[in-house]
């Protein structure tokens, strides 16, 4: 089914948080203010790699209007944070490793005073050699950024005997792929409001993708019991992985506790660029071989991932890439080796796609190159190697079986874009590209396609709790309480839609509570394409009991037999009439009716850390227009076929695929946070270029394949990332079809595609003909 407003009918609902967001009425946490609040600011390192010889804060402290200047000496607990490895200093004291490193923080009456105070903090540095290149950092003579070495994480996977298998291959392709340091570029930069409460507790209003994880990390830093910290973390103006890790929270919390005044911090875009996470730039070298029939036999991969100065989830991202460089293909002989390497280049971390984007660009590039050598249609080569129902996952692990890979392959094969490409024509209808005949000779077009399977959930061996609570509150509202976050992805809308469709409630009956550690259960993080799946599974578990409780209470109150009652809009119904409203039902209660569930995200039994169990499958075709005068590429058409089980929320689903694809367009064509000497060249959004509406004015069609095998109990799969992971290789394939040039580096460099059209030697007629 092509997913759109028309095909969705009444399931296309108005988003409950939509109006306030588009009208600007909604207050984000960084818009909040408190009486008597101070402004917090952080002093960041002046050098990308240096020893700190001394830090002097006296002059800053003497500035009128400054209430506190704090350094490492003022951290009562652990001077470190990091979801997986808490080794990033809250405040550096002996050494700085990137220009976002924090050395001190100031709380002052206003921003100007705070900034002035920062300028008075004296830090003496002794420069250390800079590690700007991951492979340089791996050399034995390289200076160590961390005692344990410069390799944060090393992955290996091997099956069969690739060495021998390559010898027997009819065709072998070798290529090295490079991907950019992409920035999340959320609309709302990191920040928050930190309030020391009169009872000794601390309230943190600051965005995160896992409030309870922030609470745990802050508890360690502040040496405060977790129960004394309340983290309120939604709504969020975008995250995409970038706010999963702590950012300003330690500074706000420490300053608030020190001054006993509310403190507000909000990064400028400059500071956000400088200190914030980015997507891991990767260099992926692949050697892939097949037999004369196009059966892929051997595949060898080496991944070098620039993880920057500290760990955050750099190891987990590498695990993900290691799994996804093998992908949806049956390959008997495989060898993968990966390294996540520390450098002085910012901090790389979690980002929508989580290492899949880089891996899939490389893997799909290999398949296209092999097809070229074979003289075979690249889509046909994929068919010959595609995983089938019953096959193990990429790492040989048992996975939840679906027909997803074949389904998306077939759907794309039948898509207008691929059919038109086969006919050698242009699929003009509805597309904004001009018919070929009217294009000037320097505009050439091409169609390309790619396929991906993308794991969801955190994977084997990583705590991945899920759960939630439903209750009938005493005021008659049906409360759904989950520990998830709303950062624009439409989680609240999806939750509402599930409650309406599964229980029969009306939107007005509901109160959805998320993003407050004082009240929510541990539902796990809102990451890894997991939230929708986990909400659905939680409601599946809660529905029988919660429905029964409500109906039995209604039966007891009204004297009607429970078996003849059902839940509906506004209350409990008997036949076609409303018997008792939820408000009336609640009046008879002394305590709320509560149902709670706790479970774990399903994982594979194979004991390999990070290996996934649930996958989403997608195939994409794109049509591009290249301007040979400028070497610039425009994507005029996209067709996504997505197999992710039932569509929980059509508008949200479409939004995720379209939004993911726009991030992929940036990854492919324009986005790269360029660094030299450990400093960002692209310091602001005037040089770091995300796609605009004009860059995104091509058509995007999304076909949702909802069928799951009958025995499947896992319901909707995550679609938060899948739209962003395979556009790049499809564009590269389309470029190749248009101009026979292979792209191995992103973003695509116009220089590569530019032609010299008019020289005295070469007349334009040779093109025009």
């Amino acid at each position: 089914m092509l997913l759109n407003k028309e095909s969705s009918g009444s399931r296309w609902r108005i988003r409950p948080d939509g109006q306030d967001k588009v009208s600007g009425k909604l207050q984000y946490l960084t818009d909040m203010a408190a009486e008597g609040m101070l402004t917090g600011r952080v002093l960041r390192a002046q050098q990308a790699h240096a020893r700190i010889l001394s830090i002097c804060t006296e002059a800053a402290l003497a500035v009128p209007g400054v209430h506190a200047v704090i350094t490492h000496e003022d951290v009562p607990g652990l001077n470190g944070f990091g979801i997986a490895l808490p080794h990033q200093p809250v405040f550096c004291y002996d050494r700085v490793r990137y220009t976002g490193d924090a050395i001190a923080a100031v709380a002052a009456e206003n921003d100007a005073i705070a900034e002035y105070a920062l300028s008075l903090i004296q830090v003496e540095y002794e420069p250390l050699p800079l590690l700007e290149d991951a492979e340089e950092a791996m050399k034995p003579e390289a200076i160590l950024l961390h005692e344990e070495g410069n390799v944060l994480h090393h992955t290996e996977y091997r099956r069969g005997d690739p060495d021998e298998a390559f010898g027997a291959c009819a065709h072998v392709v070798e290529e090295t792929y490079f991907t950019p340091r992409q920035m999340h570029t959320y609309m709302e930069t990191e920040g928050g409001l930190f309030i020391p409460e009169s009872n000794g507790r601390l309230t943190v209003y600051s965005a995160t993708q896992h409030g309870l994880m922030d609470r745990r990390q802050l508890s360690r830093i502040l040496a405060l019991p977790e129960e004394d910290i309340r983290v309120v973390s939604s709504p969020i103006g975008g995250s995409f992985g970038g706010k999963d890790e702590l950012n300003v929270q330690p500074y706000g919390a420490l300053l608030a506790l020190r001054t006993r005044r509310p403190v507000r911090l909000h990064n400028s875009r400059y500071e956000s660029v400088r200190a914030g996470l980015k997507r891991h730039p990767m260099k992926i070298t692949m050697k892939t071989g097949c037999d004369s029939e196009g059966q892929i036999v051997a595949h060898r991969v080496r991944i070098i991932s620039d993880t920057g100065a500290y760990a955050t989830l750099g190891a987990e991202v590498l695990n993900f890439a290691t799994e996804h460089v093998i992908g949806p293909y049956r390959i008997p002989h495989v060898e993968v080796e990966g390294f996540a390497v520390y450098t002085n280049n910012g901090v790389s971390g979690e980002f929508r796609g989580f290492g899949g984007n880089q891996a899939i660009f490389a893997l799909e590039g290999q398949v296209d190159r092999l097809a070229q050598q074979l003289g075979l249609d690249p889509w046909e080569l994929r068919r010959r190697n595609l995983r089938q129902y019953g096959d193990p996952g990429p790492l040989g692990q048992p996975i939840a079986q679906t027909h997803g890979a074949v389904q998306v392959w077939e759907a794309l094969k039948a898509s207008p874009l691929l059919r038109a490409a086969e006919d050698g024509g242009c699929e003009g209808e509805g597309s904004d590209s001009q018919p070929e005949g009217q294009l000037p000779p320097w505009i050439v077009t091409g169609t390309g396609a790619a396929l991906a399977m993308h794991g969801a959930g955190l994977g084997y061996g990583i705590p991945d709790p899920a759960g939630g609570r439903l209750s009938l509150a005493l005021d008659g509202k049906i409360e759904a309480v989950f520990g998830y976050e709303e950062f624009g992805q439409g989680l609240i809308a999806t939750m509402e839609q599930m409650l309406v469709e599964q229980f029969g409630f009306a939107g007005d009956d509901l109160r959805i509570i998320i993003g407050d550690t004082d009240v929510v259960p541990d539902s796990g993080s809102s990451t890894a394409s997991r939230s929708t799946s986990m909400m659905w599974m939680a409601l599946q578990r809660l529905r029988p009991e919660f429905t029964a409780q409500l109906l039995e209470t209604a039966a007891a109150t009204t004297g009607e037999p429970a078996g003849e009652l059902k839940l509906g809009c506004g209350g409990v119904w008997k036949g076609c009439s409303l018997l008792i409203s939820y408000a009336q039902l609640a009046r008879g209660l002394k305590e709320p009716l509560v149902c709670e569930t706790k479970f774990q995200y399903p994982t594979t039994p194979l004991q390999r850390v990070g290996a996934h169990f649930l996958y989403t499958y997608s195939a994409i075709a794109v049509r591009v227009e290249l301007n040979l005068l400028t070497g610039r590429v425009r994507i005029t058409d996209q067709y996504h076929a997505v197999a992710a089980g039932p569509v929980a929320n059509p508008q949200g689903y479409l939004g995720q695929i379209e939004g993911g694809s726009s991030m992929a367009v940036g990854f492919t064509l324009s986005e790269d946070a360029v660094m030299t000497g450990g400093a960002y060249v692209t310091k602001n959004m005037d040089t770091y270029l995300v796609p605009t509406l004009i860059d995104m004015n091509g058509r995007i069609q999304v076909e949702a394949i909802e069928d799951l095998p009958e025995h499947d109990t896992y319901g909707p799969r995550g679609i938060g990332e899948i739209g962003s992971v395979h556009l790049a290789p499809a564009v590269a394939a389309a470029i190749f079809q248009a101009v026979r040039k292979r792209v191995n580096k992103l973003p695509v460099e116009p220089e590569l595609l530019q032609e010299t059209f008019f020289t005295t030697q070469k007349a334009v007629g040779s093109y025009a003909g």
Binding site: V63, P64, G65, A112, I113, E115, Y116, S119, S268, Y270, P440, W442, L628, L629, T630, G631, R632, R634, L669, S670, V674, T676, V681, T682, K683, N684, D686, T687, L689, P691, T692, L693, I694, D695, P750, E751, Q754, E755, T756, F757, F758, T759, T760, Q761, K762, A763, V764, G765, A768
Partner: protein, 300 residues
């Protein structure tokens, strides 16, 4: 706080002169401590990036009368420096008298910026995207030197600007474009911009072309070619112009023109594009426009 006035804790003083003379005197008195400002869109990016210090004094030019209008007489279209880029973009008079300049205004920045940014500011930067378009329209600038408003060709002003010969207090008060006399309406006028994305981007390369097309003789006359881009110097491309002037347009001539543009256009490497790419792009864009004239207009 008084003791800290010399330190970063200040807002610049705002002066709002009512006349060019008053503005000029303020700037002369304060020298480097003061900066002229109108929309402030470019200055703001420089302050934020730390490439220019926030000055002690901002001299707000927006209260000076006579620089906010687009007027037309028999010979010229005159546009005051305070006319916003949005107004330039919407001006029918500019679209008619200076279509390449109107197109340049259309492609600069984004609506919110164009609503504030002024024509004068874009010119005064010395590298604004409007400048190549003004060059091919034979535009002249009205420049105030403290005593007189003098009129000088954009090209001469650019020469002074890029050689550092402009006194700091001098002001660009407006632009005038000669109204076309004699091309009979078949004057080619083109502006093209290439950046790193399709909109709201700094330019890598801009080109502008004007010429009279004589379809019967297949020749171009009064040819003006210019190129610029980024923070590079906007420039006329004299060698390529000379090749085209009065010559019969042919494919082999286009090859020679391409080479003359590529050779003649001086640009620079930046972190995102090399000079060679920019030279080729300028050559390709200019010649592709001429090629379209040859192929399409010749047919019609």
């Amino acid at each position: 706080m008084g003791a800290l006035q010399d330190e970063p804790l200040f807002s610049p003083a705002l002066r709002q002169p009512r006349s060019l003379r008053e503005a000029w005197e303020l700037k002369s008195a304060c020298a480097e401590q003061a900066v002229y400002v109108s929309g402030g869109t470019l200055l703001r990016t420089q302050w934020e990036a730390g490439t220019a210090a926030v000055p002690q004094v901002l001299i707000d030019l927006r209260n000076i009368a006579g620089m906010e209008d687009v007027t037309r007489d028999d010979d010229y279209l005159t546009i005051g420096s305070l006319v916003t880029l949005t107004a330039c973009r919407r001006s029918g008079a500019l679209a008619s008298a200076g279509p390449a300049a109107a197109e340049a205004a259309r492609q600069i920045a984004a609506p919110a910026v164009r609503n504030l940014a002024t024509l004068g500011g874009n010119i005064a930067s010395g590298y604004g995207d409007i400048l190549p378009a003004l060059l091919v329209h034979d535009a002249e600038l009205a420049v105030y030197d403290g005593n007189l408003l003098r009129v000088q060709p954009v090209e001469a002003w650019l020469e002074r600007r890029w050689s550092g010969a402009i006194p700091p207090a001098e002001l660009v008060a407006g632009v005038r474009l000669p109204l076309d006399q004699g091309s009979g309406g078949s004057r080619l006028a083109v502006f093209r911009k290439v950046g790193r994305r399709e909109a709201f981007t700094a330019s890598l390369v801009t080109i502008a072309v004007t010429a009279d097309w004589d379809a019967a003789a297949r020749t171009l006359r009064r040819v003006r070619l210019a190129a610029g881009g980024g923070s590079g110097r906007p420039q006329r491309l004299a060698a390529a112009e000379a090749l085209l002037e009065g010559a019969e347009l042919s494919r082999s001539l286009l090859g020679a023109v391409y080479e003359a543009v590529e050779h003649g256009f001086a640009s620079y490497d930046d972190p995102f594009a090399g000079e060679q790419y920019k030279k080729k792009t300028a050559g390709n864009l200019i010649v592709s426009e001429l090629w379209q004239t040859l192929e399409l207009k010749a047919r019609s």
